[in-house]
Symmetry: C2
Subunit: 379 residues, 2 copies
Amino acid sequence: MKFTINRTGFTNELANVLRAISSKTTIPILTGVKLVVTDDQLVLTGSNSDITIQSTLAASEGQLGLVVEEPGAIVLQARLFNEIVKKLPAETVTLEVKTGFLTTITSGPAEFKINGQDANNYPKLPELESDKTVQLAPDLLREVIDQTRIAVSKQESRPILTGIHVLLAQDQLTAIATDSHRLAQRKVTLPAPVAAAADVVIPGVSMTELARMIPDQKDPIDLLIAENQVLFKFGHTLFYSRLLEGKYPDTSRLIPETSETDLTIDANVLLAAISRASLLSHQGRNNVVKLTIDPTQELVKISGDSADVGNVEEELQFDAITGQELAISFNPDYMGDALKSFGEVKVKLAFTSPLRPFTLVPVDDQANFVQLITPVRTF
Amino acid sequence: MKFTINRTGFTNELANVLRAISSKTTIPILTGVKLVVTDDQLVLTGSNSDITIQSTLAASEGQLGLVVEEPGAIVLQARLFNEIVKKLPAETVTLEVKTGFLTTITSGPAEFKINGQDANNYPKLPELESDKTVQLAPDLLREVIDQTRIAVSKQESRPILTGIHVLLAQDQLTAIATDSHRLAQRKVTLPAPVAAAADVVIPGVSMTELARMIPDQKDPIDLLIAENQVLFKFGHTLFYSRLLEGKYPDTSRLIPETSETDLTIDANVLLAAISRASLLSHQGRNNVVKLTIDPTQELVKISGDSADVGNVEEELQFDAITGQELAISFNPDYMGDALKSFGEVKVKLAFTSPLRPFTLVPVDDQANFVQLITPVRTF
């Protein structure tokens, strides 16, 4: 195996593939990155067995400067190899494996010789075949992930809740996450109906990693759903994630359809007050903040306290209140996460009673995006 | 106690004082910040008993907007109070203590009530009197600290070596640090001779914290050395540090006066090669890199290896070699720290033998700044 490549482009693609590689794996060879060189391309693969990322660098892409002298394959310790490539002195880097697995890395006057591993021992990637495909705009996909992943469960006690429930039906994609204390649901209308419906649960950590990698570009991302894997294609990159097994709970009836008290308010105004109140709630034993809505007095108030430390109270500017008087307590961190997912818009909060879950929706798009939070009983 | 102040300026000074405050103190009241308000100023004090930082905000400084309604004093939990002030909604903040120690913090619609502590229980600051004073340019002081603190010992086994040895004599300030494996010495010529000589050891952590705080300004910093404290004055700030007790070892004869092999090289060129070689030395058991100098062949080479992982070799561009052939091994991290302390200049390395300490000096200022490193025996 022998090839030369421009260091900058190579470093970038290597960094992408590295996102899948963990040093805490039970399969030692997965701490390595696999390089496979054929006559016209170099393919980098990294995997933690849940996520696999593959990057293809073609010789035909001039700016990569890929020149293959001899095809071949090797697995190199990913962290070390990445550090070496980043610190090399010259514009280009040459990799050569003569016999065995000893790999020579040359760049300018610097010459590293590091021990690699047999690429034949690297796990094979699944070949995905599926008619469940859909194209998504990169910005929209990132938004859907960021708006739902906050509600993904971090507890392993119910593994299925550590995923995002993704449904494809006709011209609609629905993403849902819940940790049983809160729920996030986002619907997206697709440019065209899908060929086949799909109902899968993708691990939340995979989606979070994917959201970080999605490039700032206009070209749509291809999503392909197979039996136990999902594949996202963008740029040079293939991003595979395994799917979670099991049935996601039916969440369709959790979202209340009526309300007794409604509050319309600037998301940022509420977020700032919540984050102040949480300074005290975080000091106490139970992390709870209280919201008081009084339609008669036209008053909205946030308060928090911690017996030892002190208390805080703040009256809020709002746009509208309708319905009944209400005092409700909730976890300010859940509320903060939900409010951040809306960005700088007006939101409508809809409450039925102090002990029933309440919802937040953006005023301008009430049908497609909802955050639901279960209150905390404080008496 | 009651006063109002602009939040921005207050936040900045509070952040400075907070640098001295640790949550891991054995004296509970030191987790607090002391506020003392008199008719014309507010004084903030934070301390971890080694370092004390005091900031004085005067009502006469218009941009601070300090308005005192009632003098008084209080101690408030520093981390919480700082978080609160940072997150308050309005431009100004009002603090009021009516009776007892319950403090009301008001800013716009937000009102916090937090429990404070009696300021009379806060440790008193020493009153320093001394004729050992000197003025230093802020940039120069920061440079002296950054160039010597790298050699300060991190081991508590010889406490005196955890400090920087500072000597004042006539028109010269000398700063020395050594952890017994390496030594850094910097001399500075003062604008005027000092009134009285001084010989003190200032804790390295104090100096590191001070270097971070030194503002980007031209006004000189006053240094005042008393019996067991040192005081730096700049801007609104007084920075006190205790001194280390005990006698600093005589380091004057450690620096060799002659050499057998000299190498002149760009500090950055050597640093880059060292940092590449250390990628492999860090993988192995003994973290050692080898430098080979061959005057006959006009060759300078850096190499490193780790039995399991591989090896690296690099020939370096240099300016001049004189003297004998040499192969010497050393800790690349010590060498890296030393090289970084020079910045982008040419340095001269002077060696006597593979087992004797060697020196690095900047080519343009060989008398005032030296880094010394003890090599590692590898056979």
